[in-house]
């Protein structure tokens, strides 16, 4: 018992490479935000300072999630999920609206986006569910967790927040793949999916806002662009492409500095970075992400129990999904669904959530006496 306590206090498992990679990516984010918002009107707190503040809060979240025992955290998975579902219901009625979607809860001068935190809690819920008992048969493997995911997913799609909704599905799918599904079950899911598609399409498509439909249509059929809604995608591609090999240098991004590219500090921050730092810079950023994910996967495979492995795998899957979809959409490979680039895009809820997730992931690496296993 004493051993366990002393070990818990130490810095065991505090991987300096891992933290270094995270900080390097955060620094790139702050730099890009600083560059793109420097023409911001005076009087308001600059975005990069606000982002630094979020990172400070995120660091606290990182340390808390790292220091706690993830077995203890997993025990709170269901109550936490119930709480976040309540917040998601609350946001539909009381939330503040921006760009036609109701996603934020105003708290004093700040606003808080519950759908971001819902993603991490979903990982906890699913990891807890699968590790608690051997879940046998497709009912326990697929349907029950699916029913767990459903209320959160529907509430998020209702806002509507397509990006967070897709992340939700991605976490579920990644967890299924991790625990393994019988090929029959996959067949079932596919069959059900195809049968339900017309209804689901109606529900999902019907719940989207005009701007989202137009963005998707503009992707599926570039000719379908009645009001110039392909503007985002085109401007983003021009920004990235015009960076060429070496980039235009800090503040040199005409696309973003001259406001051709909207949302330069949030969803399209990658395009800003690519324009100013070129292909070389982009490769460095991608390398940092791959390094971080690589270390995370290692932590997942060396986890001492199934809960740890599933937590780590779920968080990695979520991180990968966001990185790939965000870069893919700014580079014109996917439709624009509004997913921020983790650790880089400006945003309080997303930054804090991502750093908390990484803290939890590093937590899995800590040495512990196997009292429970």
């Amino acid at each position: 018992m004493i051993d366990r306590l002393t070990e818990r206090r130490g810095l065991d498992g505090f991987d300096i490479r891992y933290v270094g990679l995270m900080l390097a990516i955060l620094a790139i984010g702050v730099l890009s935000i600083y560059s793109v918002t420097q023409g911001q009107q005076s009087g308001n707190t600059p975005y990069y300072l606000k982002q630094l503040m979020w990172i400070g809060l995120g660091a606290a979240a990182f340390l808390i999630m790292w220091a706690a025992d993830y077995h203890d955290l997993a025990r709170f998975a269901y109550p936490a999920y119930a709480f976040i579902l309540l917040m998601l219901v609350f946001v539909l009625f009381e939330g503040r609206t921006s760009k036609g979607a109701q996603r934020w809860i105003a708290m004093g001068p700040f606003s808080f986006q519950p759908s971001e935190f819902a993603k991490l809690i979903l990982v906890l819920v699913l990891a807890h569910y699968y590790s608690k008992a051997p879940r046998v048969g497709w009912l326990q493997r697929v349907i029950v967790p699916g029913l767990l995911v459903l209320p959160g997913l529907l509430l998020i799609l209702k806002q509507p927040d397509l990006g967070s909704g897709l992340s939700f599905v991605a976490v579920y799918a990644a967890m299924l793949l991790m625990v393994g599904v019988r090929s029959q079950a996959i067949g079932f899911i596919l069959l059900f999916g195809i049968m339900l598609f017309p209804f689901a399409w109606e529900g999902v498509w019907g719940s989207l806002h005009d701007y989202q439909r137009q963005r998707i249509m503009a992707f599926v059929d570039p000719g379908y662009d009645p009001g110039g809604k392909g503007y985002h995608a085109l401007q983003s591609k021009i920004a990235i492409g015009s960076g060429e090999l070496l980039g235009k240098g800090l503040y040199g991004g005409t696309q973003s500095q001259l406001k051709f590219l909207p949302e330069g500090h949030t969803d399209f921050v990658f395009a800003v970075f690519a324009e100013e730092w070129g292909f070389l810079g982009v490769m460095v950023l991608l390398g940092l992400f791959v390094g971080l994910i690589w270390l995370s996967l290692e932590i997942a495979s060396k986890a001492k129990d199934q809960l740890g492995a599933l937590l780590a795998a779920g968080i990695v899957a979520m991180l990968c999904f966001c990185v790939v979809v965000n870069i893919g959409m700014t580079a014109g490979m996917f439709p624009i669904v509004g997913i921020p680039l983790p650790l880089v895009s400006y945003g309080g809820s997303a930054t804090i959530m991502t750093m908390a997730s990484l803290g939890l992931l590093l937590n899995v690496k800590r040495k512990r006496l196997s009292l429970f296993y």
Binding site: S98, G241, L245, L258, I293, Q306, A331
Partner: protein, 624 residues
């Protein structure tokens, strides 16, 4: 291998799957890398070319702000086109030459133009040099525009209040959004330069009237001139408001106050509709909705008459004898007095070592409740006040809505004070003195009220205790659907008193007009009930009213309702420093009541002075 599902082997499977994930990750990142290679290296020069020649800009299309009408559709606020001149620094060749040219053409101080150009921000952001230009100036600039690259004349929507000073306090005014406001979530669809309501209805109903901005993509040439544009999203005009006020009655009430300081509020007791809400002195919302110089602003704020203050909802005054109405209800309901029991008034009321005087030297003799109200006998109310105690008095005052905001849709409404010992302890950190109860009984001392509260109190009595929240907006016209949505009246509780009590009070109030302190409010066309009041300004006064400097003279109150049989209007008049309510305030209330009765009878009598107000849709232009 997918078919195994036992715990031990499962853990092993997990490792294999994680390996697969690594391979998958490398593949996907490789694909992203390839795509970026394609964009940045292979097609890089093509995109660099596009970025250098990128000449499309996104321009916001400001929505037209919702209009404001009175209850009969008379236009109170609309938008008119006005010309503004802008300069885009990006396109300017020689800044000093341009400053010289512009200041000569427009007759402006070169230093001012220089200052306006120096505002921080992107060089692409057009800076406004002058708004509300005359057509002549606009034409002059336009004809010289080719010599002055970067200069642009913009037609803009300017808020306009056709009635000028009419209803200025309740309409309010608009102005550019401030840096503080921009940080707040409720303004997050707006941007620097957006126009929002800053006062009055314009502020409290800003969300409804604001509308949604549209957007267009503009292709410009090297000099910044627009070559081609396509509208991406049309702006959505804001919703129109239909107020409860009758502009004709409003104008009359304001004219009655004239140069004097004061307020008049008229309510419909049956639903809380505010028919008129006048406050003098007023301001011109047309002036305040423009860009003011610091000097102009200081002049308005430091004006001794405080024209920005809405005396109807923000002015707090001792109610004086008008407070005897709720006190009379309290006396009957608590059975402190029966309607027939009397108090002997000898012109003063001895309490402890102090003599509390009646306004009438020598006193009123034996008076019952009816006579005490009709002749406004102070001694009667000193006596019942002392018997009921301050807490009971405050309870009834609060039932009538005193000491708390009425909830009218105006920013910064004041609540007045309905004092209690607990209040005094909390606010002044002193204990309550028994003599203060006696002053409070005739509405002096700590008691303060707003004219709006007094009108609402009168309406509640007229309506036998049923109270509606005073309101200013009766309907909202949704511009996107074209639906006119009528807003329901909002009940605000009921004073629990017997119908008999209200009957007794109302008959006494009717006699105040026929033979009491307010015979000057007697009307030949309608029966009126009312009560005079005098709010003491300075405690120690000697000599006749005329010999005192005006700013120390008392405020005159009059509250009234009509017709007595089935009330249709309740009025509160407060005239600052005008002395006794019966002389100064009562005639004004009578005029308002008579005008309203004339306006609402089937054959309307012609009203004067409002011929300049038109009924047409003055929305101006919608999209530009």
């Amino acid at each position: 291998m997918l078919s195994t599902s036992y715990p031990e082997t499962e853990f092993g499977d997990l490792h294999r799957r994680l390996f697969a994930l690594r391979v998958g990750l490398l593949l996907v990142v490789g694909l992203l890398g390839l795509r970026l290679w394609h964009l940045q290296i292979l097609e890089g020069p093509y995109y660099r070319d596009l970025s250098e020649n990128n000449r499309t800009r996104q321009v916001l299309l400001e929505p037209a702000r919702g209009l404001i009408y009175d209850r009969n559709g008379i236009l109170l606020a609309n938008n008119v086109s006005s010309f503004s001149v802008y300069v885009t620094l990006e396109d300017v060749q020689d800044r000093e030459v341009l400053i010289q040219q512009l200041s000569e053409l427009l007759g402006l101080d070169p230093a001012l133009v220089r200052k306006k150009l120096a505002i921080k921000g992107s060089k692409l952001l057009p800076r406004k040099i002058k708004d509300r230009m005359t057509l002549r100036d606009a034409t002059l600039v336009e004809s010289r525009r080719l010599d002055m690259p970067g200069v642009m004349i913009q037609v803009e929507s300017q808020r306009n209040y056709p009635g000028g000073l009419i209803a200025s306090h309740l309409l309010g005014y608009v102005g550019e959004i401030s840096a503080d406001q921009l940080e707040k979530p409720e303004f997050d669809d707006l941007h620097q330069g957006s126009i929002v309501g800053q006062y009055g209805i314009e502020k409290s109903y800003d969300r409804h009237m604001r509308g949604t901005a549209g957007q267009k993509n503009v292709e410009v040439d090297a000099l910044g001139h627009e070559k081609k544009s396509s509208v991406v999203e049309k702006p959505q005009a804001g919703n129109d408001l239909y107020l409860t006020i009758d502009a004709r009655l409003q104008k009359l009430a304001e004219d009655l106050l004239g140069e004097e300081q004061g307020a008049i509020v008229a309510l419909d007791p049956n639903n809380g509709d505010i028919l008129a809400m006048a406050s003098r002195p007023a301001f011109d919302p047309n002036v305040l909705s423009r860009e003011l110089t610091a000097k102009q602003w200081v002049e308005i704020v430091q004006d001794e008459g405080r024209p920005l203050n809405n005396r109807a909802s923000q002015g707090q005054y001792p109610p004086g004898s008008t407070f005897k109405i709720p006190m009379a209800v309290a006396a009957l309901e608590t059975k402190t007095m029966s309607p027939s029991s009397t108090v002997h008034c000898t012109g003063g009321y001895q309490f402890g070592r102090r003599l509390y005087r009646d306004w009438k030297a020598g006193g009123h003799g034996y008076v019952d409740l009816h006579e005490a109200l009709v002749h406004s006998c102070d001694v009667y109310f000193y006596s019942i006040g002392q018997r009921m105690g301050i807490d009971v008095m405050a309870e009834f005052g609060k039932d009538f809505g005193l000491g708390r905001p009425t909830g009218v849709e105006l920013p910064s409404e004041r609540s007045g004070i309905m004092p209690t010992p607990a209040w005094k302890q909390k606010v002044k950190r002193e204990s309550w003195l028994p003599g203060e109860t006696i002053s409070a009984a005739i509405g002096q001392g700590f008691v303060t009220v707003t004219p709006l509260q007094m009108a609402s109190m009168m309406a509640t009595v007229a309506n036998d205790g049923v109270n509606y929240r005073p309101r200013l907006v009766r309907a909202v016209m949704d511009r996107s659907t074209g639906n006119l949505q009528e807003l329901p009246a909002v009940p605000r509780g009921k004073v629990n008193a017997k119908p008999e009590t209200f009957r007794i009070i109302k008959s006494a109030l009717a006699d105040v007009i026929t033979k009491g302190t307010a015979t000057r409010a007697k009307s030949s066309i309608v029966t009126i009930g009312g009560k005079t009041g005098t709010a003491q300004v300075a405690a120690l006064r000697t000599g006749p009213e005329e010999s005192i400097p005006k700013k120390f003279r008392d405020h005159a109150w009059f509250v009234a309702f009509a017709p007595v049989e089935s009330p249709k209007i309740a009025v509160a008049v407060l005239a600052e420093h005008m002395g006794h309510g019966g002389a100064a305030a009562a005639p004004l209330a009578k005029e308002v009541i008579e005008a309203y009765m004339n306006l609402t009878t089937p054959t309307p009598v012609a009203t004067s002075g409002l011929s300049g107000m038109s009924l047409d849709d003055g929305r101006g232009f919608k999209d530009s």
